[in-house]
Symmetry: C2
């Protein structure tokens, strides 16, 4: 199909995005998110500008203050003159709020700042999901000249934690009370932390939370190997901007370690490999999806549902069809 | 490799599981979860017993009382003489707790009841993740003769919500306060609800939550089509067992509708198709994963990381390798 509507071509959009035009950035992200036919054109146009942004993941349970912390970080990074992109993957984030919502207040702090671009990635179930869509959006923000891209995800849900953990630096936020250290440990989010942030540190129980984290760290894990990075524990009160200097210092220190240890290059390579894999998996999944509703898949599913065929044998048939 | 350790063969395990032996059920789930070489043998042995259990998904934000509600439901279903399996996907569920945890109290209610089988699916990132592992575990519980399988997932995270929504009947739990109706709507979990449960209905704000839900329902959506199921709103106080009769009545009514409308057969077919697809995608992903660390993928990732190749072109090469 051809469209006769007037639309800026991709090179023009990329050029405008690099000049800081928020609408062009938004349009490019929509093109990649919607898997538009021009997706590949966008990716090709952005490729030369890839790999410059520093990617910071920020995750934690609902209620620990992720959005407030994101906002605090944006403000501090802006004060340093950095261009900042924010991808809010958390569906309960005020940054993700759609028409239902009146609490986009904090986002408004940055609404008139052309050096900040905020985008919700709350849409779900699209193609390969978050694993597929988030790197594409990072790619746009990176290509558009953002120095830092913050990815805010809720620290519950395997896709969400995974997305945050593909960053150069991953912040895990906790708050006192709620047995949060334990909850985080159970959810596996402590493992992915490069910097641990105890937010709402003015509340009762902050010391206990820090102590819990220290004792969990002393139990070992990947951080106890020689030469490994030991995640610092930073206390913040994001709503009042307290602790931001310590947090920035911890981020800078980690950035330095990434360079000197070679871990930074390794993470960028891993991220590129994961991105390529996610696209390849999505492409193969799409081929399978094309079969949905087809007589062939329906027949297989019907036999599985009635127990005359096991699902592995059915999947073998499906894979054979695709790779024939 | 061959193992000389003594181990019950798969047909024996299936036979014992069908007699209600919890250890055999656990062993079978481990075999499928760990993608043991005997996985296919297990699936084949279970296939003839597939499709008898009623699958109920139960989801909601952290703190709404999912585990307490699950426990209440288990008790009520047991009182009817049903055999019940519980799969706790929520990593923060007491049912999922590992060594870190002292709060398995509610689970203990059922620990000595051979008609209840409870299993945590908290492990993450395995193969195709929850989309892959959960149907396999349902298959084991179904094959083992469970009349009802409850899948408890946290209603945050796209994989988690998806898993709950593949059930025959999906319960979405909310609690008064916290703007929970809005949060749930934003997270997209209202869309998947067949029955809405306002738990902690003795608290202030329960009426407002019910009202919010009613007004959101009146806004339309798939439930407003002619002949469609309109999710009832049930009030419960799960901690005291209150409202369980209403909840069971709503579940029974939905079960009846599933049969008369033909929707039940459609969901079972969809679930089988989704299961076959997830296995096929996992198999293809595993083939891609086999390339990880290979010179070929490293070279592609390196070119993507440095911007000399766009990730789609790299993925094309990868897919071509697999389907050649």
């Amino acid at each position: 199909m051809t469209s006769t509507r007037r639309a800026a071509d991709v090179p023009t959009l990329v050029e405008r995005a690099r000049d800081g035009d928020a609408r062009s950035v938004a349009r490019l992200i929509s093109l990649v998110e919607d898997a538009s036919p021009r997706l590949r054109e966008v990716a090709a146009a952005l490729a030369p500008y890839a790999g410059r942004a520093r990617v910071i993941g920020l995750t934690g349970s609902p209620g620990v203050g992720k959005s407030t912390s994101t906002s605090m970080l944006v403000r501090a990074l802006r004060a340093r003159g950095a261009r900042v992109g924010v991808l809010a993957v958390d569906p309960s984030s005020p940054f993700s709020g759609g028409a239902l919502l009146g609490d986009r207040v904090r986002m408004q702090d940055h609404a008139t700042d052309s050096g900040v671009f905020i985008r919700s990635m709350a849409s779900r179930g699209h193609l390969g999901g978050l694993a597929w869509a988030t790197p594409q959006a990072v790619r746009v923000l990176d290509g558009a000249g953002c120095d830092v891209v913050l990815i805010e995800t809720v620290g519950v849900g395997q896709a969400e934690v995974q997305v945050a953990s593909t960053a150069d630096t991953t912040l895990v936020l906790l708050a006192p009370g709620m047995g949060d250290g334990i909850q985080a440990a159970k959810a596996g989010i402590l493992e992915v932390a490069d910097v641990l942030v105890v937010n709402k540190a003015d509340r009762d129980g902050a010391d206990a939370t820090v102590r819990d984290l220290r004792s969990m760290q002393s139990l070992g894990g990947r951080h106890s190997e020689p030469g490994a990075w030991r995640p610092p524990i930073v206390r913040t009160v994001a709503a009042r901007g307290e602790g931001i200097e310590d947090l920035l210092a911890a981020l800078d220190k980690h950035a330095g370690w990434l360079e000197t240890s070679g871990e930074g290059a390794r993470r960028r390579l891993d991220r590129a490999a994961a991105e390529v894999e996610a696209i390849a998996v999505a492409a193969l999944r799409a081929r399978i999806g094309d079969l949905r509703g087809s007589a062939a898949l329906d027949a297989l599913a019907g036999r599985v549902a009635t127990g005359t065929l096991d699902p592995y044998a059915a999947a073998d048939t499906l894979v054979a069809t695709l790779t024939a």
